[in-house]
Amino acid sequence: MEASMLAAAAEAFAVLMDPLRLLLLAGGVLMGLFLGIVPGIGGLAGMALLLPFTYTRDPYSAFAMLLGMAAVTGTSDTIPAVLFAVPGSAGAQATVMDGNPMAKRGEAGRALSAAYTSSLIGGLFGALILALTIPVLRPLMLHLGSPELLALSIFGISMVAILSGTAPLRGLIAAGLGIMLSMIGSDPQTGTLRWTLDTLYLWEGLPVVPVVLGLFALPELADLAIKRQAIASDAKIDVRSGMVQGMKDALNNWWLIVRCSGIGAAVGAIPGLGASVVDWIAYGHAMQTVKGANETFGKGDVRGVIAPESANNAITAGSLVPTIAFGVPGSASMAILLGVFLIHGLIPGPDMLTKNLSITYSMIWSIAIANILGAGICFAFSGQLAKIALLRYTVILPGVITFVFIGSYQATRDWGDLYTLILFAILGWIMKFLKWPRPPFILGFVLGALIERYMFITATRYGYGWFSRPIVVIFLVLSILLILKPVFQHWRSMGGLKGISANFGRPKFHFSDLLHVFVIALLVAMFVPAFAWPFGAAVGPLFVGGVSLVFAVVSLLNQIFSRTIVTSREERGELQSHTIHMDMQVSYEEMSRKELALRVATFFFYLVLFLVLIAAVGFILTIPIFTALYMWFEGRENWKPILGQAVGMTVLIYVVFDTVLHVLWPGSLLGQLVPALRVIPAV
């Protein structure tokens, strides 16, 4: 490292040590921790929330506060993931896989502690990589043209193969469906409005936040309500010894942390990729490389917590790379951060690496300090937090559901966000119930749009020449290897051609085949209108839709016929399963089918009730009414906790979202009938 760089780094550190700046940084960290815990409201909302407060500050303070906030959402988002199986932000979806089973075993303390430690190291490692690569940042990034971005996106999506677990075909269909749904909206080539159902809402596509919350948060809450118990049923949570153990776990797996931090930083640096896939990519990497992962992952293996948690903290530093070097935002939060650059008259690009180097270093220091502070605070309070897992579901659910609704509504502040949430909640729960892997859907949804975009740029600009670029070759070969492995395994588990033909039996239909039928119908409905579009808009949907349709039909037939193959091979002892199902295992054995159906219906009734209340009396008044109704009818709680939670939540949401964020609420029937009541917020 050159002397001038060291000097700049030292200068930046000294500037940050100013008490007021540290205070702002700490304020950002507290905000970030809070937003991380609250499902659905992550760094993006935090950026929008804090942005107005930075106008009057100097750039060092502004970045300290904003990056302090953004850096630690990945630390605290573990807490709800481990305790309730609800990811606190999109980056903690994979943490749920092993973190929550650990909590159910009474090891919440250990899981949390391992997660904080990996978050801390991951965050610091990301900052370190950024600090060291500054001199080569721009030349390095200039090697990443559209073909490279395309190859990296394809590599990312090939993780679907690993993340499909025992159900490779269903994984591929889920991924295909994800890609198809990602192509909703105005297409990047011709501007054709694809599948917008004549609404403005779908113009820019389905927003990712309500999709993630619907697919991953609400189904877990549904099961919590269906099982009607606390998260950890036996009350023997030993937090203290667990904490020490968790820290040791993380340190013993330092090499895994380093690898996953590297993945996190790299994913962060690629524009368009972000928190919603980084955890799955890291988790997939761990599954592939860690010893014995096939037996233990998904059942409470601490390494399944360490991998995603280290990656999702390294991402902040990574996403700064294109932002600082080229003004290309590495993520949606970074797009807002870019606004801060402009406000302070800073221009992303070469200047940030020369003239304004000390500002760049102050950003890196802010990330590092925030990670230390964030992990420290989490450690200090984990003892108390872990006890939340012992609370009854009726106490937890209303608050979390409220946050999920309000978090979704932040996406575009349209009723569409809420409909999207509910539709994907239903899809997510059915997928979970029928053992369809959900991670491939998200990978497809996030990466599909990128692949289409860069595929076009690459094809129009380079023809076929791009296949010979070295980075492209490496990642495409890796992708092919990744995809072929599980396909080959599945083929073998069927006994190859011989096994299939020997055991080919009578078709066996099952009620659950209806999901296949639904998916096929949806794909056909999306496939047909694409024929009418101009080539640029149609080729992606036709290709992906066609391939997905083939997979879906094959999978359906496979399911109908191979039920007999697999059973007969299992009976003869020829087949031993070594792969895991990529989801939380939930057993509903203790209740009858009828009871189960009733409880599912009850839960979704409450979700719809929430929507009806919003339409009737507005968002803010819905919160106390819903909380009270739910706690009273479902839990017969005392009026004191009901009143406390109803009022507390309402005030919190009002202050944060109405007075600070100035959310534009949907109007209500009450406000239309009695205009005088519009003085009440959101009516």
């Binding site: 990034m141 403005l200 797009a335 600009r461």
Partner: protein
């Protein structure tokens, strides 16, 4: 007075109390008092059709911080982001849903009026001529550029040599090179699909494309690219040349015949709308007038100018009256001209 004839009974009484003397210049002070009465203690909404952080958002928030000070009664102004559909969501909200009493203002795409003329069906029934235009803090031309390493340095070279030009789909960055290919005979290979302007800048730097189909002069200037001779500016798109770019030809200067001139003028007009701040249709005229006066006073306010400069924002104000004229001119373009332009630049 047509507006008021619809009021009746109690509402009319209130209207009288608020100053029913619009149009009588001698009663200006009484008018001011009535307007101050109306706005005092009120909270105005400022609807921003984009996510936080971009150019429109930055200008709108700046206006939001200072405009209230100059409106009689000093209402507080709350910026609310309502992103979606290239700001059409916000435009639709302002057009049909927001209260029309002058308490809601907003900002949206400068090209909405042009889209309307071209028969863009996604605008639905919005008539952009009916919004109450308050003013725009700035207007800057767009420019079409190539990187300094490109062989294409001016329009003449662009007619001879085919080079790739980066664009984001369905925006001015694809529309300008398209119309240039069609009417000026340039040979740009338009590479569409870049997610944003800075992505195209990066692609220019690494040689993936030679140039960028459209960029706002206001956002290029601070980069210092012109002084450092990093870019060639082929044309500027607007109705008059930027003061700092006296030697760069306007796009419409290249028109070969009258019909072309009509279309090039039409596609150049939206830049003069800048970052428009406008209210809903049917705002009581004296209130719209008060908002316009407040805007005109604000853009001369030294505090406002200092804040703009600190944020690196150029101020080149357009009054509400001027905006109204420009929009009226655009939307009254003969339908066939609009339709022909739409066909040339690929708008369905």
């Amino acid at each position: 007075m047509g507006l008021y004839s619809r009021l009746s009974g109690a509402a009319a009484a209130i209207a009288v109390a608020f100053g029913f003397f619009a149009g009588a210049p001698a009663k200006a002070t009484a008018d001011d008092a009535a307007i101050a009465n109306f706005y005092r203690g009120k909270t105005m909404d400022l609807i921003i059709g984009y996510s936080p952080g971009g150019g429109y958002d930055q200008y709108a928030r700046l206006v939001g911080r200072f405009l209230g000070k100059h409106i009689p009664g000093n209402p507080s102004i709350v910026p609310r982001n309502l992103p979606g559909a290239s700001s059409r969501t916000a435009a639709a909200f302002l057009y049909a849903k927001a209260p029309q009493d002058g308490t809601v203002i907003g900002t949206a795409d400068q090209s909405l009026a042009l889209a309307q003329v071209m028969g863009d069906s996604t605008l639905r029934d919005i008539d952009t001529g009916k919004f109450g235009y308050v003013g725009s803090p700035t207007m800057e031309n767009n420019i079409v550029i190539t990187w300094h390493k490109s062989k294409v340095t001016d329009v003449e070279k662009a007619r001879q040599i085919a080079v790739p030009i980066g664009a984001t789909g369905g925006s001015t960055s694809s529309q300008y090179p398209l119309i240039m290919n069609n009417l000026l005979g340039t040979r740009f290979e338009i590479i569409m699909g870049y997610p944003g302007g800075n992505d195209i800048n990066m692609a220019m730097e690494n040689g993936e494309v030679d140039g960028r189909g459209s960029v706002n002069w206001g956002s290029v200037k601070p980069l210092g690219w012109v002084d450092k001779k990093m870019i060639n500016i082929l044309v500027q798109v607007g109705l008059q040349r930027e003061k700092e770019l006296p030697n760069v030809p306007l796009l419409m200067d290249f028109a070969a015949k009258d019909e072309d001139k009509q279309m090039l003028r039409l596609i150049s007009a939206p830049t003069t709308i800048g970052r428009p701040i406008f209210s809903t249709p049917n705002v009581p005229p004296e209130r719209l007038d008060a908002l316009r006066k407040a805007f005109d006073a604000m853009v001369k306010d030294p505090e406002f100018l200092a804040a703009a400069q600190k944020e690196g924002l150029l101020v080149e104000p357009i009054s509400g009256k001027q905006l109204e004229q420009i929009v009226t001119e655009i939307v009254s373009t003969p339908k066939d001209v609009g339709a022909k332009l739409a066909k040339l630049i690929g708008v369905q």
